[in-house]
Symmetry: C2
Subunit: 336 residues, 2 copies
Amino acid sequence: MKQKLNIALVGATGAVGSEFLTLLAKRNFPVNSLRALASPASAGKKVIFNNQELTVQTLTHNSFEGIDLAFFSAGAERSKEFAPSAVKAGALVIDNSSAFRMDDDVPLVVPECNAKDSFSHKGIIANPNCSTIQLLVAIKPLHDYGTLTKLKVATYQAVSGSGAKAIEELSTQARDFVNNRSLKHSVYPEPIFGNALPHVDIFLDNGYTKEEMKMVFETKKILHHPKLAISATCVRIPVWRAHSESIWVKFERKIDRAMAKKLWLKAPGIKVMDGINNYPSPLKVVGEYDTFVGRIREDISEKNGLCFWCVADQLLKGAALNALQIAEAYYDIKPK
Amino acid sequence: MKQKLNIALVGATGAVGSEFLTLLAKRNFPVNSLRALASPASAGKKVIFNNQELTVQTLTHNSFEGIDLAFFSAGAERSKEFAPSAVKAGALVIDNSSAFRMDDDVPLVVPECNAKDSFSHKGIIANPNCSTIQLLVAIKPLHDYGTLTKLKVATYQAVSGSGAKAIEELSTQARDFVNNRSLKHSVYPEPIFGNALPHVDIFLDNGYTKEEMKMVFETKKILHHPKLAISATCVRIPVWRAHSESIWVKFERKIDRAMAKKLWLKAPGIKVMDGINNYPSPLKVVGEYDTFVGRIREDISEKNGLCFWCVADQLLKGAALNALQIAEAYYDIKPK
């Protein structure tokens, strides 16, 4: 690709927005102009892109004139309201929210899995849920070899998945704990510090949370595998950044530990960290682009079953980086 | 039971030992005398039982003269070395360590599940692993109804499972974080604060950790269900106290949400906390005797499958309380 792009970044002041600003510069994305957009409350704030200060503008329906590519990362409500205006103005929207993910005419893309799906877009390409992305990067090479039939996943999710306010809430609770003050909370229904909450997103009628059902529906869509038997339990833990997952998978064809490692070692976007006392952890993986796998074991409870542990930085691969990689694949841009 | 017992408490200065001292008094256990034992490093320290100060004595092979009942809670090595001396002196040993759990002639007991097994002891009754106990309390009433065929569990384990030093390490790391100092660690191979480590106990040849295989072997033994298909992934998280577990179970006979709740509501040692925005968490369950279950859902990936979330205070039900309850059941003591 030779042409440089006029970019809009919706949610420029958020936790994911700030990663976008860093990544666009770091990966040498061909930016002609960058328009930083946010809610009226954040308008006038300054953000930094490529050592330049940008003034954040209020997001309106007229924000997208001349824009080629708009990254949305300001929640589902804002995407629903403003993404159609961006499309109407001629922009391609890559949306981080859940607003359009399950729409039939919106491709849902993890580039390592289904980059080609992007080309069937009608103006919007959706970026999957953070927990789903790392799961998919990890299971795709195994699925290609052995055909996945069943999947169970228990998550250990960082607070950064709930945005900048949650990051601050956990830090404040740490300070209050150390200073013997009672822990206050507003983002979560009880303190997350020193705790574990099996509650990510809202509760649905079937007893699952929306986050859990996102993992179910999005995985089936991305793999084009509607019959996959999958269930999830999503849990928030007091980690600032990087999600972890305990995963059980079952295949039509047996995949032993050696084969799993072999498949992962040649797969894109994956790092294997597996062995005695050797495994990925959130603190090790923060700031990394790759999805890390370890604790690889044959599932002793299941024929053709395998279990493993998977960690990724959900603000990078789970959000901004995956969205940017969708754009890179779509425009055939080679990142630095 | 009318007679009062002469008790020895091995590991009286540890995290579990201190819970024993509290519980023996609180539950009005018929204590005639209490001998507090520990390693030479702790000898001479004072501990409190029933508002009385006891001086900790050095554990030796001669520590058990006149003792009726000895609670061991000082690690597997010490149990292996000294429990036989206690038995030889005529004491009944209830051992919290993993030393004898899988021995054929040592009953492994969760009173809610298999209290009767205690009576076949040959001097030693073993207390199961903390993660196993709460799992078993939760699944036994379901198994009795529907016959368990498969079980997968991902744990979220508190640092108190690693003892008093680990509790202090997490607190120190919290202080260092708040004061912008780098995090030091010695109990765990990396900081546990703000992290999640899929590493509880040592690694075994099959890629599982010893903790994971304890859950497998102990569950089969306690349920007298050697053919149960079970696998576990054990993870340490920055929680001070109370273990959580994400559990998937499959039965011969269907158990839906309503039936699971019904079975649990009439089962001993269980509290149901289940509904929209209503679930147990470590902070809610600290200090509780019961095992709490919530997030009850039919497993949408499995015929006759159910998934749920289970939390218990592992220093109480996962250790000292369960050991004491074994004694209460064995001697037919009604606790206060």
